[in-house]
């Protein structure tokens, strides 16, 4: 069997992003070899065919090319899930500052945010990731793997750098209280 084709069929049947280690183990290759194969497959698919290889949600997955979106939308009739600016604002704050409590989100936004958090949780973009060991044991929220997938991200480091905002550092959280998971 051609290794490139083997890799393609694995990605073809995968209904979630396949990790590099998982693909390498299945193909009995090293991760380096698998990565080379993935690069070859990505360049091959980008030139021909209606699908493309994407690095998304911490793994690799096949997707259709954007030029087929209208055709597929007519066929699948997906329910559009629009996110209002308020929801996007809450999501951005959690994405950059996670894990954090609703009170901290409200402190940043200056408005009540429990509804936004609840809606984002129901949509699977945010989830409870623990509790802060402070009085009241407030729930900490963080983004989910589905958030990365829904926003075409591979990991959180791909989020754009904000002016005057330091990157998120998990070590800083220890000063605010231990996280109880």
């Amino acid at each position: 069997m051609n290794p490139l084709d083997s890799l393609f069929v694995l990605l073809f049947v995968a209904d979630a992003p396949a990790t590099l280690s998982n693909l390498a183990t299945t193909l009995c290759f090293t991760e380096g070899q698998t990565e080379q194969l993935l690069d070859s497959l990505a360049s091959k698919l980008s030139q021909v065919g209606p699908v493309q290889l994407m690095q998304i949600g911490g793994g690799y997955q096949l997707s259709t090319k954007p030029e087929y979106s209208e055709l597929l939308a007519r066929f699948l009739r997906p329910q559009p899930q629009r996110l209002s600016r308020n929801l996007l604002e809450t999501l951005a704050i959690v994405a950059y500052r996670q894990p954090l409590t609703i009170a901290e989100i409200e402190e940043i936004r200056g408005v009540q945010s429990d509804y936004s958090v609840r809606v984002l949780c129901e949509r699977g973009l945010l989830d409870e990731v623990g509790k802060r060991m402070t009085p009241g044991r407030p729930i900490l929220y963080g983004t989910t793997p589905d958030f990365l997938h829904q926003f075409k991200l591979n990991d959180l480091s791909q989020l754009p750098e904000l002016q005057n905002v330091l990157p998120f550092s998990p070590e800083s959280e220890s000063s605010n209280g231990e996280i109880l998971v």
Binding site: F12, V13, A14, D15, A16, M54, Q61, L62, S63, T64, K65, P66, Y68, S69, L72, L76, Q79, P80, L83, R85, L88, E89, L91, A92, I93, A95, Y96, R97, E104, E107, I108, R109, G110, Q112, D114, Y115, R118, V119, E122, G124, H149, Q150, F151, K152, L153, L159, P160, L162, Q163, V165, L166, S169, E171, S172, E173
Partner: protein, 286 residues
């Protein structure tokens, strides 16, 4: 170059004849002000002349007190010597005048001492490893760049299609047969509950309203395996708003096939569809 003179009871030393009148007026005004500051007594007429200042000791005191000149460039030792000369020269020095000069000199020396002390450099502020929440709160556009990026990525992502996962979407209609159940049966069931429901308070709610998913779980928990009317399912103290929520949740559960409905002599009855279903185990959302 400093020139300090004790000029006794003479008039203050004036360099220019043309400006004599004006300078005298200023000197008098300054010294009049000095009198009150130093306790109603003028200091002796010790005249100070240097690059930074020209005038009497009282005027120097006043200018320093008002932070009008920089004392660090005015040497005080010759002024003190002039003061000693003044004390030594006079046969019967005026103690009030001498005390007033002493107060002025002590003040000047103290201010000079403070001025000569090295200024502590401001400590470099440690770079915070987390967001300044208070600062962010005052800048609503802080995350605007990220929001725009997320919005753009979302629209780009919506143009891509991936293999679907095996998830049961809450809005995916499994079955929705309403056999021998009329809309009027459902509406009359709702009306009965609405009639006995408590009128909502006009005061604003303290707590936020629960999501529809939570209400659906509650409804599913209330519905049992045997057929019951909607009036028997809802709590006795339900409010009108909650009754609406309960009815909408009930309709949604019927739509997704988790609750069955039938009509018995014009009365709609409801029952849980899966007999071994636990409300807590029901996964309402994917």
């Amino acid at each position: 170059m400093l020139n300090v003179l004790f000029i006794g009871r003479m008039a203050p030393k004036i360099k220019s004849a043309q400006s004599k009148k004006g300078a005298q007026a200023i000197q008098t005004r300054l010294e009049a002000k000095t009198v009150t500051l130093l306790g109603l007594v003028l200091p002796p007429p010790i005249q100070v002349e240097c690059e930074e200042f020209t005038g009497s000791l009282g005027a120097l005191f006043l200018c320093v007190k008002d932070r009008k000149i920089d004392l660090s460039n005015v040497p005080l030792a010759p002024i003190c010597e002039a003061y000693f000369f003044y004390l030594a020269e006079l046969d019967s020095p005026n103690l009030d005048e001498a005390g007033s000069a002493l107060v002025a000199l002590a003040y000047l020396l103290e201010r000079k001492a403070w001025a000569l002390l090295p200024t502590p450099e401001p400590e470099p502020q440690e770079v915070e490893q987390c967001y300044d929440l208070a600062r962010l709160a005052f800048d609503p556009d802080y995350f605007s760049g990220a929001i725009d990026s997320l919005s753009q990525w979302k629209s780009e992502r919506d143009q891509l299609y991936f293999r679907q996962t095996q998830q049961t979407d809450i809005y995916q209609i499994q079955h929705a047969p309403l056999i021998r159940v009329r809309v009027s049966d459902l509406s009359s069931a709702f009306e009965k509950v609405l009639d006995r429901a408590i009128v909502d308070s006009t005061l604003p709610r303290i707590s936020s309203r629960r999501s529809m998913i939570a209400v659906m779980r509650e409804v599913l928990w209330a519905v049992s395996d045997r057929w019951r009317m909607f009036n028997d399912l809802v709590p006795s103290d339900i409010s009108r708003t909650d009754a609406v929520y309960w009815f909408l949740a009930l309709l949604e559960l019927i739509r997704i096939g988790q609750i069955d409905v039938r009509s018995e002599s014009g009365q709609a009855e409801f029952s849980r569809r899966s007999k071994n279903l636990s409300a807590k185990s029901v996964k309402l959302i994917s």
